[in-house]
């Protein structure tokens, strides 16, 4: 992947009315753009500028919410342009302390299958399932190969948003091996809670039941959001995923799904996690080798 290192265009600074600044680092997705968004927003957070209300790193961009009564948006843009230079270029020895997380998924489950069949009219391919469609347009021989590809390499959380706790995840493989699928032609009005979806080059786990436009591939037995904070993993925070978390999706069968659901309902479930130092440059130099080492930690 080193040979295909992405050179990012100049960042684009835009005002979202008087309360927001949107900064697009690239129109297309790459890990480089995401790492840059993480670095700049991390440096901004450390500055503790008065009037900055929210700092939201996104996939290939970031967004700031501010109180214009305390800081003028144009002044903040000047500050961000400065950070683009000082914090945007990562040194080779830059590492991110993060964690790798085992995320069980029941693929082709009865609940998302029922939902996607109900919304066939909203889909590019009304005759099949979302899995069959995604396997075909990505050149896989069938659904099992698609699932192997998803579970074979981990994903990094590149953005939280849409609704509370929803992680956008990007697979840590070179671009030619990325799975890419369109969003539904018309978004669904219903999606089961904890559905595992895929749209563009991103996978998500839906935190709550509601609307959604991503292709539906399966369901997670464990939640990513717990407003009541009943599970131990949510004691400190209502959302489990954090930006830069590395998620390893693991295909499970119905028996394991039911067992984990039981643990969740009993309040005993905990995600299997391990602390890791993530080195973007080491990863970009040898993605597969790096991923192998990463997954051995779990």
């Amino acid at each position: 992947m080193a040979a295909t290192t992405t050179h990012l265009p100049p960042a684009r600074y835009e005002f979202g009315g008087d309360e927001f600044i949107f900064v697009e680092l690239d129109q297309e997705m790459s890990l480089e753009a995401n790492f840059k968004a993480m670095a700049i927003t991390g440096a901004l957070r450390e500055q503790g500028i008065d009037g900055v209300i929210d700092i939201c790193p996104s996939n290939a961009s970031y967004m700031i919410r501010l109180d214009p009564d305390r800081v003028h948006p144009a002044e903040l843009v000047d500050e961000l342009r400065g950070l683009e230079i000082t914090a945007g270029d990562l040194p080779d020895d830059h590492t991110v302390p993060t964690r790798i997380v085992d995320v069980p998924i029941l693929f082709d489950d009865p609940w998302t299958r029922e939902t996607l069949m109900r919304f066939r009219d909203n889909h590019q391919d009304p005759t099949g399932t979302d899995l069959e469609y995604a396997a075909r347009i990505n050149g896989f021989r069938g659904v099992p190969e698609l699932i192997d590809s998803i579970t074979g390499s981990p994903f990094i959380v590149t953005m939280l948003g849409f609704v509370p706790g929803l992680p956008f995840c990007y697979q840590m493989v070179p671009r030619e091996r990325q799975i890419e699928v369109p969003k539904y032609v018309r978004p669904r009005t219903d999606t089961p809670e904890r559905a595992f979806g895929y749209g563009g080059a991103f996978s998500v786990v839906y935190p709550v039941r509601g609307a959604g436009g991503y292709q539906l591939f399966g369901i997670a037995p464990a939640p990513v959001f717990d407003a009541a904070q009943t599970l131990p993993d949510f004691a400190d925070h209502i959302a489990f995923p954090k930006p830069s978390d590395i998620l390893h999706y693991r295909a499970i069968d119905r028996a394991e799904y039911d067992r984990i659901r039981g643990e969740v309902e009993a309040g005993t479930f905990r995600y299997r996690t391990a602390e890791v130092e993530f080195s973007p440059s080491a990863f970009l130099a040898d993605p597969d080798g790096f991923n192998r080492t990463l997954l051995e930690v779990l």
């Binding site: 005002f15 790193p57 996104s58 948006p73 144009a74 849409f162 563009g200 935190p207």
Partner: protein
């Protein structure tokens, strides 16, 4: 403890305050009163501190029974209000006693009446705010809209407040009716539209559809063309698709090219549609009072005009404070 007995919740009445700040990065929108001006004036009229929680109704107001002496005020949409069946004035400090019942007639203009009560609605704070966010069922009264027989806790009334009968001068009330002119800062991903499309977006009088709630308003009335391009990697293949990004509150997206959606306080915080501009914070008050079938139009302004409009609103609020205290 003192409380309000909800005899009827109306169509969709929620507890709201100035909003829940600082949670956007995990995907939680600020919520809060959609029409912040009317909400703040209501608090001023009953002597509440800034940020006290009040009630926001939609279309059909609630019926509320009071259990002790309080000051109350009704602002926002025009919905003739009655206490024990007697018509009472909006935008005015009213005094109620135990057993008094506040009720509403059909709305005549606007969409959302606000009801403030001295002492404020004292539901527990959740992440620093009492605002209701029904999508995930958090904040407010049990995370949901009010229902018959709910009992809303009230805080201790302030030691002094405006005298009953204190009234907001007509020029300081929110102007309702007609086409809602929304000032908009163009940008974000507006490069996705042709120049003609941007012009037609601004020239069109848009109609509010029935899909208009606290999450956002879907509009209809014209079509908007995107510039042809090969979709960038990761975006998805629709012309309106971009690599998923953050959505500002007030931002306008045009999925499919024919249905602009303006995001409001309970908005989704990000997604994969191109956003082409952002309604300035002051004019979110105005769209919050537009209802299905009403017309809205967009007027481009720059960020300095947005900030100066915000200052003007601050000055108006200070004038209200001076007029009622």
């Amino acid at each position: 403890m003192s409380e309000i007995i909800v005899r009827s919740g109306g169509l969709y009445t929620t507890v709201q305050d100035a909003g829940r700040d600082g949670q956007y990065a995990i995907g939680m929108p600020p919520s809060g009163a959609l029409d912040q001006y009317s909400y703040r004036v209501a608090n001023l009229l009953v002597g509440n501190p800034d940020g006290a929680a009040a009630l926001e109704a939609t279309y059909i107001g609630p019926e509320l029974e009071f259990t002790d002496d309080r000051l109350i005020a009704v602002t926002g949409a025009e919905a003739p209000a009655r206490v024990n069946g007697e018509q009472v004035a909006p935008w005015e400090t009213l005094s109620v006693r135990a057993g008094d019942v506040l009720s509403f007639e059909m709305i005549t203009s606007g969409a959302r009446p606000y009801v403030a009560v001295s002492g404020g609605i004292a539901v527990p704070e959740y992440l620093g705010s009492r605002s209701t966010y029904t999508l995930t069922g958090i904040g407010g009264f049990q995370g949901r809209a009010l229902r018959t027989d709910d009992r809303l806790p009230l805080g201790s009334p302030p030691v002094s407040g405006p005298a009953p009968g204190s009234s907001v001068p007509a020029g300081l009330r929110l102007a309702l009716g007609g086409v809602a002119e929304l000032r908009l800062v163009i940008g974000l991903c507006s490069y996705r539209l042709t120049e003609a499309a941007l012009e037609s977006f601004v020239d069109t009088e848009w109609k509010v559809t029935k899909d208009a709630d606290r999450v956002g308003y879907r509009l209809r009335g014209g079509t908007i063309d995107f510039i042809d391009r090969d979709p960038p990697f990761g975006a998805g293949s629709d012309p309106a698709n971009v690599v998923d990004l953050g959505y500002p509150i007030g931002s306008v997206q045009v999925p499919g090219g024919n249905e602009p959606i303006v995001l409001l306080g309970d908005a989704v915080t990000g997604g994969g549609y191109a956003t082409v501009g952002t309604v300035i914070s002051v004019d979110r008050d105005r769209i919050a009072q537009a209802r299905t079938g009403d017309r809205v139009s967009f007027t481009p302004v720059d960020v300095d005009a947005a900030i100066s409009a915000r200052r003007d609103r601050g000055i108006r609020l200070e004038k209200v404070r001076a007029a009622v205290s």
